[in-house]
């Protein structure tokens, strides 16, 4: 602690007074204090860039943290403009104030991670840097169709996806055995899901589990059930949310709770956390994403589970949601050009080292589907998707997937409210859907940002 300047000394009355004068001067200037922040040191060519993320360097120093640390170390070894990682725990990154307060005051990170749900908010705020010049054509072509488009506006790419994360239904083999059920009983339809879940529900266990906490993640996991009935939230620039497909999906989630076969509150980190729910025996089936394969591998090695495609409504077709976070650069950051270069290098390099780096991330330290063809080939060559749950994800589930929609908060919120009200408050799905549709339309009437998809 010797290196720490004594806080007491910094607190002399004089320094407080001096601070006071500074603030008075600032407040006399009034709003410029606020608005000037954005431009303080933008567009510069500073020698250090901050990279905010929710992986590393974390306290547990797990493999995912290590991947971030190693990648950055590799870059720093060969480049003048250094990257400095800042770890923010996932919960605070997703729901906290850290990023927002920073951007609000022009102190945003130079490089950071966003999910599709965040894309338009940041794009419309004018803080996303066009990665164009940094990204060679070769790299562009290596990405699977649709992925870059979901992070582009007017043909310009603003973010590089690091992974593809489809959703599936996980089930516990032990729970099925205990209930006297076999693989033949695995549900294919919603009705079967409700019936089987009934049998699996016991004193300590729920038959099936969907995300219960409101948020972008819950919406993300719910969309596939709407898509299965060929519904969508927005069609042709207008809300299409009050469709039978959305109504029946709202009703399905509500029924699982009404029948007491699904929990009202998930454990641990919620629906995305298979270890805490399925793994602890609190749920017999759980909707979650491909990342859970790696989680189970490290934290519940001996737990026997399988996956199936998300059950569909009668007459519906299979569908899932393809999530995945992307690296983006802050156009008002300290060195946006270098930040774009870093991103293109870290995720887009087509040389052997670049492909290996991506393979490590997507199939070794974490389990995702690689977003790039060359990486997929490299992973296949190592047999990463040769068997088990991952094979099913690749062959059966991912092909039915659509990229996660990039709805701005004003579209996300009415949908989230409808889901919550129907799932947990026994609201009438038709009415909830109509209310949400009306709100979305009101917003769309005055919306002027980039196209919503």
């Amino acid at each position: 602690m010797a290196a720490t300047p004594s806080p007491v000394r910094q607190l002399s009355r004089r320094s407080v007074l001096r601070g006071g004068l500074g603030a008075f001067a600032a407040s006399a200037a009034g709003l410029p204090l606020l608005s000037a922040c954005g431009g303080d040191d933008s567009g510069g060519n500073a020698k250090e860039m901050s990279f905010w993320n929710f992986y590393g360097p974390s306290d547990d120093q797990g493999p995912q943290s290590k991947w971030f640390v190693d990648t950055v170390a590799e870059w720093n070894k060969n480049n003048d403009v250094k990257v400095k990682l800042r770890y923010i725990p996932g919960k605070d990154y997703l729901n906290g104030t850290t990023l927002q307060t920073a951007f609000q005051s022009g102190q945003g990170p130079d490089i950071f991670l966003i999910s599709p749900g965040d894309f338009l908010r940041y794009y419309n705020g004018g803080v996303l840097q066009d990665l164009g010049t940094a990204l060679p054509d070769e790299a562009r072509k290596d990405y699977l169709p649709g992925l870059l488009e979901a992070r582009s506006v007017d043909g310009k790419v603003y973010g590089l996806p690091m992974e593809i994360e489809p959703l599936a239904m996980y089930y516990s083999e032990t729970a099925f055995e205990k209930a006297g059920l076999s693989e033949a009983d695995l549900p294919k339809t919603w009705d079967q899901t409700l019936a089987i879940a009934q049998k699996l529900t016991g004193k300590d266990r729920y038959g099936v589990m969907f995300e219960t906490t409101p948020g972008y993640y819950q919406n993300f996991t719910w969309y596939p059930f709407m898509w299965q009935g060929d519904g969508n939230a927005i069609k042709d620039g207008k809300s299409a949310f009050d469709s039978p497909a959305a109504v029946q999906a709202l009703k399905f989630w509500g029924d699982t709770v009404k029948n007491k076969v699904a929990p009202r509150k998930a454990l641990g980190d919620g629906g995305g956390d298979v270890v805490s729910n399925l793994g602890s025996g609190a749920a017999a089936m759980q909707q979650s994403g491909i990342w859970a394969v790696a989680d189970m591998r490290t934290k519940a090695k001996n737990f026997k589970y399988g996956i199936i495609p998300l059950p569909t409504p009668d007459g519906g077709s299979a569908a899932t949601d393809l999530g995945g976070w992307a690296f983006v650069a802050n156009s008002k950051g300290k060195n946006p050009e270098a930040a774009a270069k870093f991103i293109a290098w870290a995720l887009g390099s087509t040389d052997a080292a670049g492909i290996e780096r991506q393979r490590q991330w997507n199939t070794v330290v974490k389990t995702n589907l690689p977003p790039r063809k060359s990486v997929q080939q490299a992973a296949d060559a190592k047999g990463a998707f040769a068997d088990g749950a991952l094979k099913k994800f690749v062959s059966q589930i991912a092909p039915t997937g659509k990229p996660e929609p990039r709805f701005p908060p004003e579209v996300y919120q009415p949908i989230a409210d409808a889901i919550q009200a129907c799932q947990l408050n026994a609201a009438d799905p038709a009415k909830a859907a109509a209310d949400a549709a009306e709100k979305i339309d009101t917003f769309l009437n005055t919306y002027q940002g980039a196209p919503i998809s």
Binding site: Q10, G22, R86
Partner: protein, 265 residues
């Protein structure tokens, strides 16, 4: 012997009140797989506490929290007692206005001014530093108010003795008022320490450097990284709570007296 009803009731209620805390303590001492077992643990283990202390920089978080909480407490009590002395004992133009001005800041709480406060802190160069954790937390009207109430009740004769000796106001404050406030300062320091040790929202907003993380951020971060490991989360919670319990037990006798002498009546 007549057994009195109310004392027994009080004991029963006290047990109910602390039961949740005790249950957490017990659960933190259970092996991971027993954490939801409703009963006395079959085996006791210190593994959870050990893991949290050794594998996670909990000690570092605690040092940070201690630095912040102690500094804020000391400086705040000093400033507050000066302000309270002036408000209670000195006559000057604008006293009523200044007093109501100070009191009205009690209506403003941190969540509602988070962003503008962050902007001010940034302007003053306080981001990501101990100063940023400490300085904005010092100023709070509650302490001024309590101390003022206390000073109103100190007999004026005591001060006048000093006046007769020709002491200035500083000497009167320093050698008469301050020594007399020792008990109330001691008990307020317990409350201040607790409040600052437990602070969460402001440290979350103002710090980025992981080395500056305070204990509450550490505990909250556990929930993200070890979501499935209730045993570890609870162990971290217990560790975060231990210093507050110790401080409270050490200072608890003074608390009631403090409330009394501050004239909250």
């Amino acid at each position: 012997m007549k057994i009195r009803f109310f004392p027994i009731l009080a004991h029963v209620l006290a047990i109910i009140a602390v039961a949740p805390l005790l249950w957490i303590l017990i659960s933190a001492l259970k092996p991971a797989e027993d954490v939801f077992n409703f009963g006395w643990p079959s085996t006791w283990t210190l593994d959870n506490l050990q893991y949290v202390l050794l594998k996670i920089p909990m000690p570092r978080f605690m040092v940070n929290s201690a630095i912040v909480a102690v500094t804020v407490t000391v400086v705040a009590l000093f400033f507050h007692s000066m302000a309270a002395y002036a408000l209670a004992r000195l006559r000057f133009p604008g006293r009523g206005i200044i007093f109501s001005g100070i009191m009205s800041t009690l209506l403003v709480s941190l969540p509602v001014i988070l962003v503008p406060l962050f902007l001010v802190a940034k302007q003053l160069g306080l981001l990501d530093s101990y100063a940023g954790l400490i300085v904005p937390s010092i100023f709070h009207a509650f302490g001024i108010f309590l101390l003022r109430q206390y000073y109103l009740n100190i007999p004026r004769e005591l001060e006048e003795a000093a006046d007769l000796d020709g002491c200035g106001y500083w000497r009167r404050y320093w050698s008469v008022i301050l020594p007399l406030s020792r008990p109330v300062l001691a008990s307020l320091s317990v409350l201040f320490f607790l409040a600052n040790w437990n602070a969460f929202l402001w440290p979350l907003t103002i710090t980025r450097n992981p080395d500056l993380r305070v204990i509450q951020l550490g505990v909250s971060g556990m929930q993200g990284q070890y979501a499935s490991a209730w045993n570890l989360i609870l162990a971290a919670a217990v560790i975060a709570a231990i210093p507050t319990v110790v401080v409270f037990v050490a200072g608890q006798r003074r608390l009631v007296d403090a409330m009394k002498t501050t004239g909250l009546k």
